[in-house]
Amino acid sequence: MTTEALAPPRKMRSGEVAVLLLLPIALINAIGFILPVLNLARFSFNKVSIGGGIENVFTWENWLGLLADRFYLELIFNSVWISLAITLTTLILSYPIALYLHRSSGPWRTFLTVLVISPLLTSAVVRTYGWIAILIDDGPVVSAIRALGLPAPSLMFNIKGVFIGLTEILMPYMILALMAGFGRLDPRVEEAARTLGATPARTFRKVILPLTLPGIALGCLLCFVLAVSSFITPKLMGGGRVFLLATEIYDQAIVTLNWPLASTLSILVLIVFGAALWAYSAVLRRLD
């Protein structure tokens, strides 16, 4: 009803025109997104024949095989666990920056915000390469530790390097999410708490932290989701020795050419996503 009344009198033709204008984006969305994702779900029930071809059947083999295989169970468990740890570390490292940015103002704040965003516009390959240069044996970090007379750790081609690199790569997302959440943080609330006699530490714990929890939840969801599906950094810094969900999907798809299994793992990633989203909305509901 509203449509009729508000639309201009040329209503009769505008419907057809609208369909025509939406057609290209709808086609690309359908062929490049909806069809592939539905097909992916279907593929997770296919299987690879002895000859290497793909049989169009309906079998739970991939799913059951996944749950029975110790390697994959560990892979899933490790991916989720490491992603959670990375998320937590990212949060701890990002919070001071976000709080500082929230409290700064003027051109200084603009400048720092640009610094935070600029890594986002830099290719993940470039940033991962930078970390390789830093963490490589004989690199600046290892040399510095050795100079202190401590035993030199190996930081490359294992989970430690992946952990350090991914944490940094995800920090801009976390900082931006936190800053969005800090919008609720009115400086006068802090002042009020302080004038009422709260120490800075207590003010933080009782006032600042609770008010910024929604931003924290959003940032954690974002970082966890990105960590679980990250591929470039684990692949390049893991040196083939770090196995995570995303790298396994790629290997199965490109190296082993087992598309049904790769599809199954992909759907599994989406299920983990769903769980994270569910946890996020549960947290938000409790906060309200």
């Binding site: 939406l22 500082y100 830099t122 599906s229 992909s266």
Partner: protein, 264 residues
Amino acid sequence: MEIHKTSWPMRILVFVLFLYLLAPVLLVFPISFSGDQVLRFPPTFWSTRWYVALFENSKMLSAFSTSLLLASIVTILSIVIAVPAAWVMTRVKFRGRDLLFNLFTAPLLLPTIVLGLAILIVFASFGLLATMRGLVFAHLVVTLPYALRILAVALNTQDQTCEEAARTLGAKPLTVFFRVTVPMLIPGIVAAAALCFLVSFDEVVITLFLTGPRISTLPVELYNYVYNQADPLVAAASVLLILLTLGVIMIVERTMGLSKTFVK
């Protein structure tokens, strides 16, 4: 004001964290001028040999021109497709509009590793693997949601009475669109184009699934290179990539700044 004065320990902490955040990007600059054969920091001596090596690497050069062409085509198509779509989404009221908008922007929510595999399987049967057409199409899946979102926001915040004024002055719908709506949308178009270009130019995960020996993009070539060896060549390429990104951002700032002086 007193309360918010940041203490010195906090400032030092924030400085160290910023250093951590920017370290990998900052480090590639000195490394790119390394004279060493292998990746080492600090380099034992300085030279521009890796820039020379980069420009003599035909694989990298052809990947770079492929990326440039790909990103340009994708950017133009994204704008041409997304501007009319965003117009419909903001100017025509119909049932299910929000749902459709969410569907059109949904590809952004899907992890690229999953989207890449999904597109790989479908494209394989269409014969689109390792073709320019396939790459353009796949990149559009990712860039269109960005373009649509930016342009829809721009169209929503634009003063719509200007369009009404044009209509009362006798302009037909198409004339209103090209003489009023689009000129007023220029800042949004520039922003959307810049983002589409950067996203397409930097895209690596989905592209990895779709490229092959016949056709490859610069990020994919860099990925392959780093995967196989670690020497300062990639640092030189990285510096150029960062400068390119900065260039695009500055063009946007200029155009947006300039257009801001013209608009409003």
